[in-house]
């Protein structure tokens, strides 16, 4: 369990992290989201005890990271933004150094190295120098390091950066399966990623907490009016007129996507967030518009994020 209370990091006049508080329960994956420079890495460095906080407290499994650092650090596996690997070491040698550094009992060390190498699929690279590994493998070795000793808490700073799409999918699956037994904080600036992997999402900007909730709740409470996307075969004028005759419709947009010969895609928004799919279906049936597709438009976290921070472009 991770408990962060009123965390502040001050650099001169600049507050990188400003009064941040949250808790992560055991077995939960918390997505930590914010644009670049929002204070994500700074916060993670304070949680892991790498940097000191100007004010506030971090408690890991009941141990305060500043009062009982060694006990607290024993519960944490940390993968920083740049994997902390020694380029001149071999993979096995490096992981074996990590087991010793993290004070794994001597008799268990070799087995532990095997375990993390198998989990991260780096066993066939075990005798390679780390400087000869690709970015993806380096990231895996970095994560293997964090998993040494099977710590209860995992702090992962942008674990999928620099990986190819295949590796990203695999990494997400691995993190999800780790989430069953571990408490995980996962930072990212990719909104889709936290949506796919995390139980809850914490969004920060300029070091301040904006919101912490489940991805679904965030979308629901902050998502605004919901829309419906539909694909029909109909004259545009007829369709627009017909839709306009329905009550509580705020607008109807023609989408530019190519959906096929003679077909057109539209986005229709209700003015009060009420369900309009049934009425649209009935309308099409009554007017003889041939309906090919009908579905709700999902608001993504990205829309939410842009709406909340008002900083389009800095998000991806």
């Amino acid at each position: 369990m991770i408990k962060v209370e009123n965390l502040v990091k001050q650099y001169g006049d600049f507050r990188a992290v400003d009064d941040l508080s949250f808790t992560v329960e055991k077995g939960e994956i918390l997505g930590f989201l914010g644009p670049n420079g929002a204070g994500k890495s700074t916060t993670m460095n304070m949680i892991t005890g790498y940097n000191s906080a100007t004010e506030g407290n971090v408690t890991i499994n009941g141990f305060n990271i500043y009062d009982e650092p060694e006990k607290a650090k024993r519960c944490i596996g940390y993968l920083p933004e740049i994997p902390p690997v020694y380029p001149d070491m071999r993979v096995r040698e490096y992981l074996s150094f990590c087991t010793e550094l993290k004070e794994i009992p001597k008799k268990d060390r070799a087995a532990e190295v095997e375990r993390v190498m198998e989990l991260l699929h780096v066993k066939h690279m075990q005798n390679k120098l780390i400087k000869h590994l690709s970015k993806g493998y380096r990231q895996r070795v970095g994560l293997a390091q964090a998993l040494v000793g099977n710590p209860e808490v995992l702090i992962l700073d942008e674990p999928t950066v620099g990986l190819d799409p295949m590796q990203i999918t695999w990494m997400r699956g691995l993190i999800r399966s780790l989430g069953k037994e571990h408490t995980i904080i996962l930072s990212s600036h990719i909104l889709f990623e936290v949506n796919a992997v995390c139980d809850r999402v914490l969004i920060i900007n300029h070091g301040k907490k904006l919101v912490i909730d489940t991805p679904e709740n965030i979308i629901r409470t902050l998502g605004g009016t919901s829309g419906v996307r539909l694909v029909v075969r109909a004259e545009e004028e007829d369709f627009r007129m017909a839709v306009g005759s329905l009550p509580n419709i705020s607008r109807c947009e023609k989408l530019s996507e190519d959906v096929g010969e003679g077909l057109t895609a539209y986005a229709v928004y209700s003015s009060d967030g009420a369900e309009i799919r049934d009425r649209l279906f009935a309308l099409c049936a009554a007017r003889g518009f041939c309906l090919f597709e009908l579905g709700a438009i999902q608001k993504t976290l990205e829309d939410v994020f842009i709406a909340m921070t008002g900083e389009e472009g800095s998000t991806i």
Binding site: N45, Y50, S52, K71, K73, Y78, I82, P84, E100
Partner: protein, 288 residues
């Protein structure tokens, strides 16, 4: 601590740096032994060690420049400082690795006086007490070099600064001899030193109160002392700079003077700089 120690030691002997260091040190000792003892026909092996000590200028930065700077540059400090090991134990592990590499070289040096046995009587006591002092002198420089490496993430910067600091300790006696002896001048220089220390503490602590208090008390104290009794400043500069004179204490050993206080002095300097290294790292964690 053991993990760090073993890792450092291994890295010195897989990267050739360790072998290079030992080889260079032994080459210097060999050259000086040849010049003083074999060619110059002096029976005192301490002269050879004494000559080599000047080359700490090159040897020490070679070993110490990367010890902490490199961890910072490649971000592996995020691994070691988030591991369940205290900063003190990490620094000690690293320092002991430095001492071990240097110690291995010194063990080889211990065989050198025996070579002189073939040519006649040698004073072994002088030779080995000097080698011990040589070892402690080197360890002192290693601690200073490690401290400097902790302040930067550039190996080149660490090497250059270490070189300059060791050069300064070599020249300090010469500089002190050149200093005028006037009391008022001594007061001026000491006030200057107090102010320099104040500036350094301000840069390190960023506290105007502590720095201001230190500056006022030290400068005020010096002026009051001067007004009470001018004679207290007699030779005060030589004394103050003498504390920094790491090398001059060593040069006494070659005359067969075994000065226990010098051994103690070196051990205190080692303790001081290992302590300062730990503090420098802890302080950086507040700022970074």
């Amino acid at each position: 601590m053991k993990a760090i120690y073993k890792k450092e030691l291994r890295s010195y002997f897989t990267s050739f740096l360790g072998y290079l260091f030992v080889a260079f040190l032994l080459i210097f000792v060999s050259i000086f032994q040849y010049l003083y003892n074999l060619r110059g026909e002096y029976a005192n092996f301490a002269l050879a060690v004494n000559g080599t000590a000047t080359f700490f200028l090159l040897l020490v930065p070679m070993l110490t420049m990367r010890i902490l700077a490199e961890e910072k540059r490649q971000r592996t400090d995020q691994l070691i400082f988030t591991a369940p090991v205290s900063v003190t134990r990490i620094v000690l592990g690293k320092y002991l690795a430095l001492v071990t590499v240097f110690g291995i070289a010194c063990l080889f040096v211990c065989f050198y006086p025996l070579i002189l046995h073939n040519y006649g009587a040698t004073n072994y006591a002088v030779a080995y007490t000097t080698i011990l002092a040589f070892f402690l002198l080197g360890c002192t420089y290693m601690a200073i070099g490690m401290f400097i490496s902790a302040l930067t993430e550039s190996q080149v910067f660490a090497a250059v600064v270490t070189f300059i600091v060791i050069l300064f300790t070599l020249m300090i006696d010469m500089l002190v001899a050149m200093l005028p002896t006037g009391h008022l001048l001594a007061l001026g220089v000491l006030i200057g030193l107090a102010l320099i220390i104040s500036v350094i503490t301000y840069v390190m602590m960023k506290s105007k109160i502590v720095t201001g208090a230190f500056a006022v008390i030290s400068v005020g104290g010096l002026i009051i002392a001067y007004l009470i009794n001018e004679q207290w400043f007699d030779g005060s500069l030589a004394k103050v700079f003498g504390w920094l004179s790491v090398q001059s204490r060593f040069s006494l050993f070659r005359f067969g003077i075994v000065d226990i206080s010098s051994y103690v002095y070196y051990l205190s300097m080692i303790f001081l700089f290992v302590f300062l290294t730990v503090q420098a790292i802890k302080k950086r964690r507040w700022e970074a």
